[in-house]
Amino acid sequence: MNEKLAILWPEIFLFIATCLVMITGQWPSRAIRHLTPWICAIALTVAFFAAMSSPTTQGMFPAIVPYAKMLIAGVGMLILLLLSGTVDRELEREVDNGKAFSSIRSNRGEFYAFFMFSITGLMLTASADDLIWLFLALELTSLPTYIMVAISTNEKKSLEAAVKYFFLGALGAATFLYGFALIYGSAGSTNLNEIAQVYATNGISSIGMIGLLIAVIGISFKIAAVPMHFYTPDVYQGAASPVAAMLAFVPKTAGFLALMFILGTAGWASNGNHLPVELEATLWIMAALTMTVGNILALLQSSVKRILAYSSIAHSGYMLVGLIAGPGEAGGPFYQNGIAAILFYLLTYGVMTVGVFAVLASLEHRNGTEADDINDIRGLCKSQPVLGWTLVICVLSMLGFPPLLGFLGKVGLFTSGIAAGQYALIVILGINSAIAACYYLRLVATAYIDDDSKTRPTIYPSPFFMRKIAGVISAFAVLFLLVFAQPLVNGAYKASEYVPAIAGEPEHEDHHAQDEIKDNDEHASNEVAIITND
């Protein structure tokens, strides 16, 4: 229990802050109301440092917690910068015009609280070692986002998007919960390590395999992968840009962590460093379709948010390649480790996608509606050089243009895919990157090159300075992290350590103490192997 507690400190801090935020956000005094985002920021910072010293756990991914939580806190901070001010503009204006502050009409407190809940849920996902925990954490991640979409703007389309998102989300959740139930039925335990142990010992029964497949397909809702991707463009477009940025990063990260844990029970080790063939085939088809559908549909869009939504689908497809490749042989180097590639890619994706959404969020029309159409960013590099260049840099990075950060992320996926022998998938990945170049280039060219002062739109910077800062930080991160990528790559590599379950005695569940000792030994020997390999 103490061990469990030791890795939960970041969540505990975040939860305390969540409670505080709910109170300060409703406070009548403006000064205290304005403390709300600062409390979130402090909590995220504390969580970041608390995660840094998280101990390793005993499980399939013993070292994942520190990296994942630091990643979540770091990108969460960027998203927080973006979110600040999203919902309280109307309210503050009313207060300025002499209306009394009404805590009933204010949704400021909830908004930040939901954000913090979602981040807490995401961190809990990273520390999950149990199916029920995993389900609850995933839902804690998602449920607040439904409401955040609804209250992010005053427009009807946000409500529509939220309803769509909620019902499809519920469908997804029901699907993977059903899968979890079948997994439990086949393994007799909800503990992921024990399930892995049972699967390694007895093999995966057909019920278990069906459960795994259903769980994977249900979780594909979270990562916006085919066949559960349909909601993405509508929801991104309906939500305010900062919330859309959050939707692009938070559920996707939760989904990939959950997929790693679920697939980890089946193991990459059973089939000669491959997943069981049914899972591999399903994921293969999902990956290929996700990339292709995302990229091809993105070509047809004229709304930047929809382009980003489809590109988010496509990026999920890329990352699925890493999932198929798996962690490679135990203690193997970074280049053959698909899990490390995913963990690194999540970081790069989070940074660059927040950057692009930050630019969108920093622009608005005269009537206060957000910039969304591709013509709204025409000539941006001239009218708003900082925002324009942020957009260009982040979009080129999303394209995977060397030597930007996104390229390094993609190289990791390439190498792990090839090391796993997935040549066809890598070719599909390559072709898809080229398709993606079409619409990313269109964004770059519209913002930077095709600048005719006659067609330049009447667009104004929105009054939130923090959003601009979020964008600039992202762009700088894309540029600077590419030079100093080694510590990050190494962090992702260390976090991706995977300890496959070793087939044990069938009745081992009754001997927890023994088992733990054995696990410890295995773990230790594995660490030795890694050290010697380094």
């Binding site: 180097p333 970074f334 280049y335 053959q336 080129l396 243009f401 060397p402 030597p403 390229f407 390094l408 190289v411 990791g412 390439f414 190498t415 090839i418 090391a419 040549y423 890598i426 070719v427 990945l429 390559g430 072709i431 990157s433 080229a434 170049a437 079409c438 280039l441 060219a445 930077y448 090159i449 095709d450 030079v483 990528a485 080694q486 790559v489 190494n490 590599y493």
Partner: protein, 559 residues
């Protein structure tokens, strides 16, 4: 870090810094002066590198420098050069001031953006040739796309949007495949039964890559050719080139023809052949057939062009066909000829694009039916035009000739029957005389369309567009700036034409090594280092020849 390494780094970093300086300047119309000064100043380190380079060990990577970048991926920032890279770097640096000077009056708007990207392109081109790390090469190789994309998209003529997108997508698609192929090689070498270590060092990879099975090599070769053949461009992947060339601003066309197309042939020479030697040997005839189709087909297209820039663009396709033919011959003559061709094509076709650019600035048309007979009005321009056209045709004494002839001879030499009979000089893949004969018609076609072009545009009665009026800034004939722009190219053409042995000498060692590598990979008996003999012969002729015009063809064709 030696002094030369610093100079090599300066060739990459200084243009980047200047680009930043230009990009952050307040006035959108600055840029010409800093870019001009920088590009001239870069000649100093370039010549210093030439002076310090030890040509007797041309195959050794000299001035090497390496620093770890992303250790987990094995990515190092590792640079250095052998004599082939050195010459190509020199070509890129030489073209720098030329393209800047050529743009002075052509670019009137957004100069800041233009010159900044020109400088970035300059740095990236040096990076490609200096890279000793596979991924670093790939990064620079890809990075050249962005400046070129901007130059075409922003500063091109009417159809620039389509041209820029086509240019980017063709090359980007191909090079994604190249990346996959390269990663496969690295992965293969990292296997325990090979080196057992993840390395991106090109020299190390070359040692082990030939252990791949024929099937693996074929796929890897295909993957790499997907990127490089598009870049060359090899028939049937050439369709982006005429559009990009036609729409690009003059400087863009010059750099595209002068250096960027060579990235493809350089890639084949440096990566495709050494990393997949058996497969390349096996499929050399097919590659040669494609290049010959390119030579003839593009040549015939040239013949019917009325757009003079498109004509020169297609002539690039045709000429680069010779370059690939030389590589496909896989013998010393072919490699030498091909590398010579990379250098000389940059000079002569670059010159032609400049001529067209200068004319376009005055007449705003590229249509040979609307404008022509300019010799009476612009005698200096016409002189240079004829000169560069002749260089491009392959007039003996100018640069086109030795390289073209070497490529043709190599096709003859690489005849299987000959080499089986132990005929001296006969070695290489099995191409044979028919390849040479068909490729040879390309020379005739080239003479036809280029002379036809020169005849129409320079001679005959003067034809001008009806609404033509003198340019505000430019004189009727070439200005002093334009003549200075052209002179280095013209001098280069003459020098390369008269003294190809100088270059052949410089590249003999790396070329020999590559041939030996291919021989060993294919289990063939090592041929004697014929390029040395060739150079000896050439030297003898050079010493005895009364007129320098003579020795070139003889020296080249002696073997």
């Amino acid at each position: 870090m030696s002094q030369q390494t610093v100079l090599l780094l300066a060739l990459m970093i200084v243009p980047l810094l200047v680009a930043l300086r230009i990009a952050f300047s307040k006035n959108p119309d600055t840029g010409y002066r800093p870019a001009l000064i920088t590009s001239w100043l870069l000649m100093i380190p370039a010549w210093k590198l030439i002076a310090d380079f030890d040509f007797s060990q041309g195959a050794t990577t000299q001035f090497a420098y390496s620093i770890s970048w992303v250790e987990s991926l094995g990515l190092n920032f590792s640079i250095g050069m052998d004599s082939v890279s050195l010459l190509l770097i020199l070509l890129s640096v030489l073209l720098g001031p030329i393209v800047v000077m050529a743009s002075k009056t052509a670019i009137v708007k957004d100069k800041r953006m233009y010159y900044a990207w020109l400088m970035v392109l300059q740095a990236a081109m040096v990076g490609v040739f200096a890279a000793q790390d596979l991924l670093l090469f790939y990064i620079c190789f890809e990075f050249t796309l962005l400046p070129m994309f901007v130059l075409i998209r922003k500063f091109g003529s009417t159809n620039r949007v389509a041209a820029s997108v086509k240019f980017f997508l063709y090359t980007f698609t191909g090079s994604m495949m190249t990346l996959a192929g390269m990663v496969y090689i690295v992965w293969f070498v990292a296997q325990p039964d090979q080196l057992g270590q993840w390395t991106l060092d090109i020299a190390t990879l070359t040692q082990y890559a030939s252990n791949m099975s024929m099937g693996e090599q074929t796929w890897v070769l295909l993957a790499m050719l997907a990127g490089f053949a598009v870049k060359v461009p090899l028939f049937p992947f050439h369709t982006w080139l005429p559009l990009a060339h036609t729409e690009a601003p003059t400087a863009g066309s010059v750099i595209l023809a002068g250096v960027l197309l060579k990235l493809g042939t350089y890639g084949i020479y440096r990566f495709a052949i050494p990393l997949a030697p058996t497969a390349f040997f096996e499929y050399a005839p097919e590659i040669a057939v494609l290049s010959i189709i390119g030579i003839i087909y593009a040549g015939l297209i040239c013949w019917v062009q009325t757009d003079i820039k498109k004509l020169v663009a297609y002539s690039s396709v045709s000429h680069l066909g010779f370059c690939v033919l030389g590589l496909a011959a896989l013998n010393v003559t072919g490699f030498s000829g091909s590398i010579l061709y990379m250098l000389s094509h940059g000079l002569s076709t670059g010159g032609l694009f400049l001529m067209i650019g200068f004319m376009y600035e005055r007449y705003h048309t590229r249509d040979m039916n609307t404008v022509g007979g300019l010799a009476s009005k612009m005698p200096i321009w016409a002189t240079f035009m004829v000169f560069f056209a002749m260089a491009s045709v392959g007039l003996p004494g100018l640069n086109g000739f030795p390289s073209e002839v070497l490529c043709l001879i190599s096709a003859f030499q690489s005849d299987a029957a000959w080499s089986a009979a132990g005929e001296p000089g006969a070695w290489g893949s099995s191409l044979g005389p028919w390849f040479a004969v068909f490729a040879g018609t390309g020379m005739v076609i080239a003479a036809m369309y280029l002379l036809f072009m020169v005849g129409k545009i320079c001679f005959g009665p003067l034809r001008e567009p009806e609404d033509h009026h003198p340019h505000d800034e430019l004189p009727t004939d070439l200005s002093m700036r334009e003549i200075i722009t052209l002179s280095p190219l013209a001098i280069g053409c003459i020098l390369f034409g008269l003294q190809p042995t100088m270059l052949l000498d410089a590249i003999s060692e790396p070329v020999n090594n590559t041939v030996v590598l291919v021989e060993q990979a294919n289990g063939l008996e090592s041929a004697p280092t014929r390029v040395d003999q060739m150079i000896e012969h050439a030297d003898e002729h050079h010493e005895s020849a009364a007129t320098p015009d003579h020795h070139t063809p003889e020296g080249a064709s002696h073997e």
